[in-house]
Symmetry: none
Subunit: 359 residues, 2 copies
């Protein structure tokens, strides 16, 4: 089924070579709508944009194929949203550079719900990913849709956590929506398309280009009420997302870690610059003036690791006999519990038969 | 050798049952000095303190033995300091409750040098103790005497680190100075008495009493320019020290850690309340507007302390001509010495031709 005339005009303009979102918004303001822009004379267009861009509009010089968009819209789960659509994310209208057109797969209702960005390192630690997932689930259960960038590491964990909660998750990607990047997140992307939403401002077919990721980050910040950074090295993309969030007047939250971990350096810099240190999802809800759900496990990691044996372990190495004495258990019971806790990442076996609590 | 009359009067009043430091300061203000207090009539005393305390003063009702103080002062390394002594820590005079009399073992010069409190949990992790020691050494090398409470864990590590640096360490304890508590810190206490200083406001023979430790903490905060908390559980004594430091208008610094470690909870709470997150000793020096030494020298000759020029420098910036006048040397001789001292990290060149002593 061919596109409606006005949507066809939006798509054609969004694909016009050299025509930025900013220039397109100026044209729309000048002429009233996309069809009026396409009917305007070269002289009239040149009063708003450069002659080169006016020629590109008039000559239909495109960097993408409208027919591909039409085909893609054959899937009922896919939608193109423009600035004129009621479903367009209203939060983005408060930002300096809202994309005139975006591609969305999944639940449109998520685009206008209270949301929180949860971002961090692609090279996250196992503990960092557990933390991101636990916070995301808690925040999702408290009514915040979790927005992230579908990267490996913290992003993927945040999406998984958001999906597990009540308010789902929204992935904002830097490629065309017909591409899943990175490939290792294919299953996750499908789950999000089904139970959450994936969004991109980039035309179908756009490959992963480094230059596009900072643009993607501005949408993540722009759609969220606040931005939580879980693990981030210095000079990482997550710090860009946090900086944009701060510039937009949103709260920035960061989770601290060991001063000896390079993956905590970025979070510590953010806190020094004024980001709020959080060690519990309730900290974020309080700052955003949202109620903390009653009886909700604040974060799964602490629930997971509340094994009674841990109460008898400090963070210094200890042997099994000492632990048995402290806990009033037999050594073989202690051994069994330690092995379980080791599998869960809560303790580590050290040389010499010693054990150390990790969390 | 018997005590001088005025010191004997100070000691007797400090040991008088029921006479608090606050009441003693009131009496001193009213009568002019300790001997005058002891010569005052019951009626005159009762105009300032309760009749019960006046009777205790007149009846020499003591909770300690002045003869024991006399015997203790037989060791040349021991001193009793009163509010009237030039060596009394001037910083404490800015606090609401300076002890009228204190017992000191070791280097009196440390009591009036720039200092930083480094405190934390008795049940610290191995990593926490390493961190405390490393920060303490760096701060000591940068010109800050490290003050702590001689407890196990972070306190002991802070003292060791301070001793290893150029500006040594000061232990403020909650027992009589003839008691070493905890016993496991005996060797450390001896090293501090020799190369640093230990002080207590509590009479000789005072055992470790829980009620005395918060009082001890107020001296730690009161003598320091800022307070660094390395690892602390919720509701720990370190948080009291930090709170007092904050109330006294001093900077509070805290080292973050894993959100899953109970020993970082206290530090995280402090940061949420406004303490400065630090992950490098340079953060503290910057906040206190102290220069960061070029290197991180661990082994510097103690002969440096006796460089004649340093005796003419306070820790405030000074110009070369002033120094030349003080030292009775030519300006070019001062310049040469300063350059040598700068290379050794003992002084820093400031803008405007000024120099500042660091150690």
């Amino acid at each position: 089924m061919p596109l409606a005339a006005d949507l066809a005009a939006w798509v054609r303009l969004s694909l016009t070579s050299g025509l930025s979102g900013e220039s397109l918004r100026k044209l729309l303001a000048a002429f009233g709508g996309p069809e009026q822009v396409l009917e305007a004379s070269r002289a009239a267009l040149s009063g708003v944009v450069t002659a080169k861009i006016a020629d590109a509009i008039l000559g239909a010089e495109l960097h993408g194929d409208p027919a591909a968009v039409e085909a893609w819209l054959g899937d009922a789960n896919n939608r193109v949203l423009t600035l004129a659509d009621a479903e367009y994310p209203r939060a983005l209208l408060q930002t300096p550079d809202p994309p005139p057109l975006m591609y969305v797969k999944g639940r449109l209702d998520l685009l206008n719900r209270p949301a929180i960005a949860v971002v961090g390192s692609r090279n996250a630690t196992a503990q960092g990913k557990l933390t991101a997932e636990a916070f995301a689930t808690a925040l999702s259960n408290a009514g915040l849709t979790v927005i992230s960038g579908l990267a490996l590491g913290i992003d993927a964990a945040a999406h998984r956590g958001g999906l597990a909660g009540l308010s789902s998750t929204l992935a904002v990607v830097g490629t065309g929506l017909d591409k899943v990047y990175p490939a290792r997140n294919r299953d996750l992307a499908h789950a999000i398309a089904e139970k959450g939403a994936i969004l991109s401002e980039f035309p179908l077919g756009t490959p992963p280009l480094a230059a596009n990721f900072p643009r993607r980050n501005r949408l993540i910040s722009g759609m969220a009420r606040g931005c939580l950074v879980v693990e981030a090295a210095m000079s990482s993309g997550s710090l860009i997302t946090a900086r944009i969030a701060n510039e937009l007047g949103k709260d920035v939250f960061a989770i601290p870690g060991s001063i000896h971990s390079t993956l905590s350096k970025g979070c510590h810099v953010l806190i020094k610059q004024g980001a709020k240190l959080v060690d519990d999802a309730a900290d974020i809800l309080g700052e955003l003036r949202l109620p903390v759900p009653a009886g909700a496990p604040a974060n799964r990691a602490s629930a997971l690791f509340s094994h009674p044996l841990l109460a008898h372990m400090a963070f210094d190495p200890v042997d099994i006999d000492t632990l048995a004495g402290r806990a009033g258990l037999q050594a073989h019971e202690i051994s069994a519990a330690l092995i379980q806790l080791e599998l869960e990442g809560a303790v580590a076996a050290l040389p010499g038969g010693l054990w150390q609590r990790l969390i």
